[in-house]
């Protein structure tokens, strides 16, 4: 066990993201509100040039938050894999001028346009979210959401997930190791499916039992349904400057959309 104790594990509040960046100095609440506003504006835009400007702005945010570019874009691509079917199907399902046909199904220019709109919007929003909200410490995010009047139950859910996801991960790894030690090698057969099913089932049962033990331990320390959350959030002039800048930019986007 000594390696666990002495390896200098990251603190729970440490996201490993860069410090002292432009984004880092801005209050988390401002960042959340700005990210939500940005998302709403992006969804309401239709012009491809304006949308591209929004995407570029999101790129700029990513760079100024000093997120690792390759890893962030990989995450963005993972999100894209969820909508790839929608985007691939749209040209075939939207009626309009035929571009080409596949097995007798026409692909329309209008559909392609809509697909491009969705792809630009989704990627811009996810990039902005990762740059603004994803770079915060999970615990700080919880504090900020609390101050933004998000229901406490949801915040506790977030906090407990942050705290215990690692514990579950370790439990999973230990069980997998023990299975391996008894000669288990996954392949495509019933034995494998059954065993993996048992593994998942056992993790669920243990998670429920663990949660009951944790609740018991919390009750023993006087828990009555509320957790004290201490935070040091404060608005500064930087928040005002940042919020104003973003508002002006978003207004420009809306204006450009209106003109076209």
């Amino acid at each position: 066990m000594s390696h666990v104790l002495s390896a200098g594990r990251r603190a729970l509040t440490d996201t490993g993201e860069a410090r002292g960046t432009l984004i880092d100095g801005i209050d988390v609440r401002t960042r959340i509100v700005v990210a939500v506003a940005f998302a709403i504006v992006m969804v309401s835009l239709q012009d491809l040039a304006v949308l591209t400007t929004g995407l570029l702005a999101a790129f700029f945010l990513m760079l100024s938050a000093r997120l690792p570019v390759a890893r962030t874009l990989k995450r963005m691509a993972m999100m894209d894999s969820f909508i790839i079917f929608l985007i691939a199907m749209l040209p075939f399902t939207v009626p309009g001028d035929a571009m080409f046909t596949v097995f007798g199904f026409p692909a329309s220019w209008q559909g392609l346009r809509q697909a491009a709109e969705i792809a630009l919007t989704a990627n811009a929003v996810i990039l902005a979210l990762m740059a603004l909200v994803g770079s915060t410490e999970p615990v700080t995010l919880g504090h900020a959401l609390r101050r933004l009047m998000v229901p406490e139950k949801l915040i506790y859910l977030l906090m407990f997930t942050v705290r215990y996801v690692d514990v579950l991960q370790q439990e999973y790894q230990r069980l997998r190791m023990a299975m391996k030690a008894r000669g288990f090698r996954p392949s495509n057969n019933r034995h494998t499916y059954r065993s993996v099913g048992y593994l998942v089932g056992m993790m669920l049962v243990r998670a429920i039992e663990r949660s009951e033990r944790i609740l018991g331990a919390m009750k023993c320390r006087g828990f009555t349904g509320r957790m004290p959350l201490f935070d040091t959030l404060a608005f500064t002039y930087r928040d005002a400057v940042f919020a104003t800048g973003v508002t002006v930019f978003l207004a420009c986007l809306i204006g450009a959309q209106a003109i076209r």
Binding site: S2, A7, A178, R182, G183, G201
Partner: protein, 228 residues
């Protein structure tokens, strides 16, 4: 050479941690019950994980059942021939019922469902655990879990047993029962334990993990004989 397992000059460190093992040499002969003692965090469990290839040493040679073992493929065979009883029984039991958990190993060895079930009954009978057959694994007591994990490993008919702190959380009765079972088994075994008395009762040879190495020690000697 007739040794079952031989380690030579094993070095190991966990990622971003200090070295845990610094040149371990060890061999296990047939019929031997080798006990490994040592402080918490001395690297005893790590050593067992290395023998079955769940961890890979940064340096050193592992020979098991007459062949050098280097890759995952080699270690799969080691895991099928050496039964590993984990420190925490909860890490090992994951099937809903005792019978299914015991059948898991034999099924991995390619036995049919019927053959596996026959093995389950035979092993439970041998360890006098027949009444446990259809119990729910996560509702067993700590001592019961320990005995079932041992049964699950014995069901694979291993040539060597590796036991990591088998007496953890066992009461006097269960400890005596475990001792009786271990002494009745013909297999060679490596026992990691810091329970002095248990080691003395069971072992044929005792070594101590100290400063990342194994040091031979007379099992009745209590003086700390640490030559790093």
């Amino acid at each position: 050479m007739s040794e079952l397992i031989a380690l030579s000059d094993i070095h190991f460190a966990y990622p971003s941690g200090p070295p845990v093992l610094k040149g371990v040499d060890m061999c296990l002969m047939p019929g031997e019950r080798l006990c490994i003692g040592g402080h918490n965090g001395a690297g005893k469990s790590t050593l067992l994980h290395i023998i079955v290839g769940l961890l890979r040493p940064s340096r050193g040679r592992i020979t098991a059942f007459g062949a050098p073992r280097r890759e995952e493929k080699d270690f799969h065979e080691v895991r099928c021939r050496a039964g590993f009883v984990f420190q925490d029984p909860d890490d090992q039991l994951f099937c809903p019922t005792v019978a299914e958990d015991i059948a898991f190993g034999p099924l991995n060895l390619g036995k049919s469902r019927d053959e596996a079930m026959a093995i389950v009954d035979e092993v439970l009978e041998r360890l006098d655990l027949v009444s446990f057959r259809d119990r729910i694994t996560h509702k067993l007591s700590g001592g019961e879990k320990r005995l079932v994990t041992l049964a699950a490993v014995l069901a694979m008919e291993p040539e060597v047993l590796l036991l990591d702190e088998p007496t953890n959380a066992l009461d006097v009765d269960n400890k005596a029962r475990l001792k009786e079972i271990l002494l009745s088994l013909p297999q060679a075994m490596i026992l990691v334990s810091h329970d002095h008395r248990f080691r003395g009762d069971v072992s044929t040879r005792t070594v101590v993990m100290s400063h990342g190495r194994l040091v031979e020690r007379d099992m009745h000697c209590t003086a700390t004989d640490e030559t790093g």
